[in-house]
């Protein structure tokens, strides 16, 4: 008798691998994106099964939801391009297939030899939890024990939005259509609800799965809905606010580190009495930054002074 949950895992694993193949082989580009979204959903389920709800949250919100929206807009922009079928020589395909099969075999062999469930760093984290200022281990790792990583990650987001604004400078975008009364009613109902959920995720991150990245991604979804429904239209005059939003997280994060370092400690060695306050401050500001940056990444092009897009109305 096979345990049903294990059978579920095996099916899920097979489905994920099959979806990965389907994403790369399906002819229709729209189907490719939908399959990728489904692939992300299934991976998030797999991570839930591996008792990693934080990662599942991040994957569902950022890796699948927002990435899916980004892919859909990009496909919309480049839809005119007939996918020029430049055939790859068969020899190249076979050689690469062999190479990848070899890599798969090697990795699988190494993986099967590696003992699972090694102690790892879990005991070290558990020992220091009391001093971290929060009650959830993943949040403690992200914002206290390995805060440098997280700071760099926020910087990467900042770099990405700078790059996107540079690349898209001077491009034209067709205006979004009006979605009608029902959508307006929906957004009046849904947007506040989503704001509450995002803030809840940020707040609950101190004790349970959730936190700045997941909360920020959910708040970014509000931005997406506003942009899509034309309830908010980016204006050139709003650029300073947007820039302030992009920089806020990095600035506060680095500022706190410098302040702590100024007190004769290591940069992220928060004083125990204020650890919780400092972490919450950083998380709050980083959440705002992430939300603004992700929404701006979705919108792409910087709002520029000369609106050339009006002629297509």
């Amino acid at each position: 008798m096979v345990e049903p949950l294990l059978l579920f895992d095996a099916l899920l694993g097979l489905a994920i691998a099959a979806l990965a193949v389907a994403v790369l082989t399906v002819h229709d580009r729209f189907a490719m994106i939908v399959l990728f979204i489904v692939f992300g959903l299934m991976s998030a389920l797999a991570w839930v099964r591996l008792s990693a709800p934080d990662v599942a949250l991040a994957e569902a919100a950022i890796g699948t939801g927002l990435t899916g929206a980004l892919l859909l807009t990009t496909l919309h922009h480049i839809r005119a391009a007939p996918a020029a079928p430049v055939p790859v020589p068969g020899g190249v395909v076979v050689a690469n297939l062999g190479l990848c099969a070899l890599i798969f075999g090697g990795l699988a062999f190494a993986f099967l030899l590696t003992p699972l469930q090694a102690p790892g760093l879990a005991p070290a984290v558990a020992q220091n939890m009391a001093a971290s200022g929060v009650g959830h281990p993943v949040t403690a790792v992200l914002l206290n024990f390995r805060a440098y990583d997280t700071l760099m990650e926020v910087v990467v987001l900042l770099a990405a939005i700078v790059a996107v604004w540079m690349v898209e400078r001077g491009t034209v975008q067709a205006p979004a259509p009006v979605l009608g009364e029902i959508y307006r009613g929906f957004s009046r109902l849904a947007l506040p609800a989503i704001v509450v959920i995002g803030s809840y995720l940020l707040w609950v991150g101190a004790q349970a799965p959730g936190g700045a990245f997941q909360g920020g991604a959910v708040l970014a979804a509000v931005g997406l809905l506003l942009l899509l429904g034309r309830l908010y239209r980016p204006q050139p005059a709003h650029r300073p606010f947007a820039r302030a939003g992009f920089v806020l997280g990095t600035a506060v994060f680095a500022g706190v580190a410098l302040l702590v370092a100024g007190g004769g400690r290591l940069p992220f060695e928060y004083p125990a009495a204020h650890a919780k306050t400092l972490i919450l401050l950083i998380e709050g500001m980083v959440t705002i930054s992430i939300a603004v940056t992700l929404a701006a990444l979705f919108h792409g092009r910087e709002p520029e002074a000369v609106p050339v897009s009006e002629k297509s109305e």
Partner: protein
């Protein structure tokens, strides 16, 4: 015990509706029929599942979150169903002209 059985039955019926929705999606002839099959199925299926899981829930907080999930999925799937139907109709009109 009785409550557990009731919850299990509700969840099982919910799953049945999901299966029915998938079959509708595969077998119905055109987009609007498929839309119809799907919105009914996922609305009912998820509603029953939510009810069943809520019966098994341990704390009031969990029940609140389950109700919130049900409410959100119900509104968003209704609105999205409407938007997709509108899009399909407009596309058909544009094609007919």
């Amino acid at each position: 015990m009785l409550l557990d059985l009731l919850a299990l039955a509700l969840i099982a019926v919910g799953a049945f509706f999901f299966v029915a929705g998938t079959i509708g999606l595969l077998r119905f002839p055109d987009t609007l029929c498929r839309l119809h099959a799907l919105t009914k199925a996922d609305g009912l299926g998820l509603g029953l599942t939510c009810l069943g899981v809520a019966l098994l829930a341990g704390t009031a907080g969990e029940v609140v979150r389950i109700v919130l999930i049900w409410f959100f999925v119900a509104t968003s799937s209704a609105v999205c169903g409407h938007l997709i139907a509108r899009h399909v109709r407009r596309a058909a009109n544009a094609g007919g002209r």
